[in-house]
């Protein structure tokens, strides 16, 4: 435990050339109500999503069109979190289009496992008709999820145990300066 008596003072932070700030410049989008609504939707999807003090937003039929656009946005990692949150949100809306989108994502073997499992959980009991098929899904994660649900969602509590070491060796050793970098020392 660090001794508070050793707390270093606030360090001087060098000023970038031209100062620390630059003025922002915005376009007036008040005339584009759907764009304004989409920005608000993305903000709501990501607001209070940390479970510490979190109260995620509620969504309804008024949000459906934009949520469908957000869940179709599958081409970039930068929007992966918004997409997953939008799939969660569709679960709150009782509408055929929402259910169809969730079924499409859940069953598509070309989709990422995270998106599929999110869609399956969002479907709730509506996903039961898929379970037998999904138990043999080409995706190991989806198949394991389906078998677990078919087994009644067991939670096998255990004696407290040590988490095993990860034997995986990837191509991730080249973190200059990282403490897992074997160049150190």
């Amino acid at each position: 435990m660090a001794d508070l008596a050793l707390l270093p003072p606030e360090h001087f932070i060098p000023e970038p050339v031209g100062g620390r700030t630059r003025p922002s410049r915005y376009v007036d989008i008040d005339g584009f109500t759907t764009i304004v609504a989409r920005r608000k939707l993305d903000e709501r999807l990501l607001d209070a999503t940390c479970a510490v003090d979190g109260r995620p937003s509620r969504f309804d039929r008024d949000d459906l069109d934009l949520l469908l656009l957000a869940t179709a946005q599958r081409f970039r990692g930068e929007t992966a979190l918004v997409r997953v949150q939008a799939l969660h949100a569709l679960a709150q809306i009782d509408d055929d289009r929402a259910v169809r989108r969730l079924f499409d994502v859940a069953t598509a073997v070309v989709e990422h496992d995270s998106a599929r499992i999110t869609a399956l959980e969002a479907l709730g009991e509506r996903a039961n008709e898929l379970l037998d098929t999904l138990a043999a899904d080409p995706s190991e994660a989806v198949a394991a999820w389906a078998r677990w649900v078919l087994a009644g969602r067991p939670v096998d509590r255990r004696e407290p145990g040590q988490v095993p070491k990860d034997p995986t060796r990837g191509t991730d050793r080249d973190h200059d300066g990282c403490c897992c970098d074997d160049e150190r020392g």
Binding site: H11, F32, I35, L45, F75, R83
Partner: protein
């Protein structure tokens, strides 16, 4: 006389100045599946031509279940083509109109495809650099399927030499959007510059190198990254002699602690290019640098190099001992090899976020609970289940346990911490944090994780564990909204984390 020596140095791969972001978006055009040129896909990627027809058939899921060997090819085609009902807007590439020079206005070019009748009307760019982030927006006048938006950065929005990151968002009038992350190195207008950074230095705005105490050799190691940038249209060769000085106090005004030089041959900086290298200074007990670090005092490092044409380059950086904590990264369930790589890249990026506030990682322990053993814990469904997982599993060391689960299905949350602050002991229902991995499929069809988002997600929950509450200051790591977080931690937050039992200062 110096007891410190440069124990090793090496050049490291430098990305081109006009594609500098290590985790930037991949440039690729998006085509409609219905009219994509199948032969071109086969030529370009070697995919089985059958998968295009299978995806077009409307029975792809059933057919691919029968032929799982075709799934990797199908994922690639699916990642590069849109379905008729999706009608996306898609940024295919972002670039600058020529090199970006320091202190000089510049223009970003945004190439995109729009598959709908609705118009793309606004381009918005969020800029991360050494100072506070800012936003530049522009109206888009485009109307075609394949189009180009331009965004002007004027005299007031010029940037200094160094890395800058641009997150570009296009907004269509029906609410559809497309996002693209692009990075550039702002080249010196003068036109040659040397910059120093901490080890790794991938996060913009990092300014301190750290002194690491290595018990095995009883030395302090200081790793410094060198970046030489060339804003000229011809390559530059550097002389081999590198001179270094460590100062207690300001360079030239304080006390010179140690100094020396070493020879680094073969340094050449390409036209409009960037060269990077890393050097390790090893300071044994008894050396001036060791003693200064041991007293927890800051030093200023000054490096001088020269070009073969006689131009002299100098740069400085602060060096200091940092606070440190360790993390056990616990993968819960199945991770592909590329997801594994992305996860540890995110951990490394999180380290750099904390190093901006003089806190580093003293260890990363890699752990795994495989899917069969993890069972229900691969998905976090409730607070009880989260705490059951903490109670059932832990790592018996003095690092923070970070569980990375497949998914949070608990009220739309994506992360949680056992307590604020979390206990500095193991056992019980509060000793760890959890985040969801948030995956996507990249343009090659591979399962990936969003490194930038995951770095902030893990850093945020660890911040709670070390004692931080939510703080809604612009660009702060502890903002409650995942979409607006940045890498900032203020001094009060540093002071809050300082006494945590898992934080050491040695």
């Amino acid at each position: 006389m110096s007891n410190t020596s440069v124990s090793r140095f090496r050049a490291v791969a430098a990305r081109p100045a006009d594609e500098y972001a290590e985790f930037g978006s991949e440039p690729f055009p998006l085509r409609a599946l219905v009219d994509v040129d199948r032969d071109e896909l086969v030529r370009q990627f070697g995919v089985n031509p059958e998968v295009v027809e299978i995806l077009r058939s409307g029975r792809a899921t059933d057919v691919l279940r029968e032929h799982p060997d075709l799934i990797p090819d199908a994922r690639l085609v699916y990642a590069r083509t849109s379905l008729e009902e999706e009608r996306p807007v898609h940024i295919s590439r972002v670039s600058a109109k020529g090199p970006i020079w320091s202190g000089t206005p510049f223009t970003l070019l945004v190439e995109f495809q729009n598959a709908a009748d609705a118009r793309v009307v606004v381009a918005s760019v969020e800029v991360s650099w050494a100072g506070d982030p800012f936003v530049v927006e522009a109206e888009v006048q485009a109307r075609g399927d394949d189009d180009l938006a331009t965004i002007e950065f004027d005299e007031e929005q010029t940037l200094p030499v160094g890395p800058a990151e641009f997150v570009v968002t296009l907004a269509r009038e029906d609410g559809a959007t497309s996002v693209y992350r692009w990075g550039a190195y702002v080249l010196p207008a003068n036109p040659l510059a040397l910059s120093l950074g901490p080890a790794g230095a991938r996060v913009t705005g990092s300014w301190s190198a750290r002194g690491d105490y290595l018990p095995a050799s009883d030395t302090f190691l200081t790793e410094v990254e060198f970046t030489i940038s060339n804003g000229d249209a011809r390559a530059v060769s550097m002389n081999r002699r590198v001179t270094w000085e460590f100062w207690d106090g300001a360079v030239g005004a304080g006390r010179r602690v140690e100094s020396g030089s070493f020879d680094w041959s073969g340094i050449s900086v390409s036209a409009f290019g960037v060269w990077r290298g890393t050097a390790w200074f090893s300071s044994p007990r008894g050396s001036g640098i060791f003693d200064t670090y041991a007293r927890k005092e800051d030093m200023a490092i000054s490096i001088t190099m020269s070009a073969s044409d006689g131009r002299v380059l100098n740069a400085q950086i602060t060096a200091r001992v940092m606070l440190a904590y360790g993390v056990n990264i616990i993968k819960v369930g199945t991770f592909s090899s590329s997801e594994h790589t992305d996860l540890y890249a995110a951990v490394d990026q999180m380290r750099q976020i904390y190093e901006r506030r003089d806190i580093t990682l003293r260890g990363v322990d890699r752990r795994l609970i495989d899917a069969a053993t993890a069972g229900a814990y691969t998905i976090t469904n409730s607070e009880d289940e989260f705490r059951d997982m903490l109670e059932d599993w832990s790592c018996r060391n003095d690092f923070v346990d970070v569980f990375v689960v497949q998914d949070f299905q608990w009220s739309g949350f994506n992360g949680y911490a056992g307590d604020i602050p979390g206990p500095a002991s193991k056992g019980g229902r509060k000793d760890g944090v959890a985040v969801e991995k948030t995956g996507y499929t990249d343009a090659s069809g591979a399962a990936r994780l969003d490194v930038a988002t995951l770095a902030q997600l893990i850093g945020h929950e660890v911040g709670h564990y070390l004692g931080l509450e939510h703080l809604e200051t612009t660009n702060n790591l502890m903002r409650s909204n995942t979409g607006v977080r940045g890498p900032d931690l203020d001094y009060n937050q540093y002071r809050t984390m300082f006494p945590h039992g898992y934080v050491v200062f040695e």
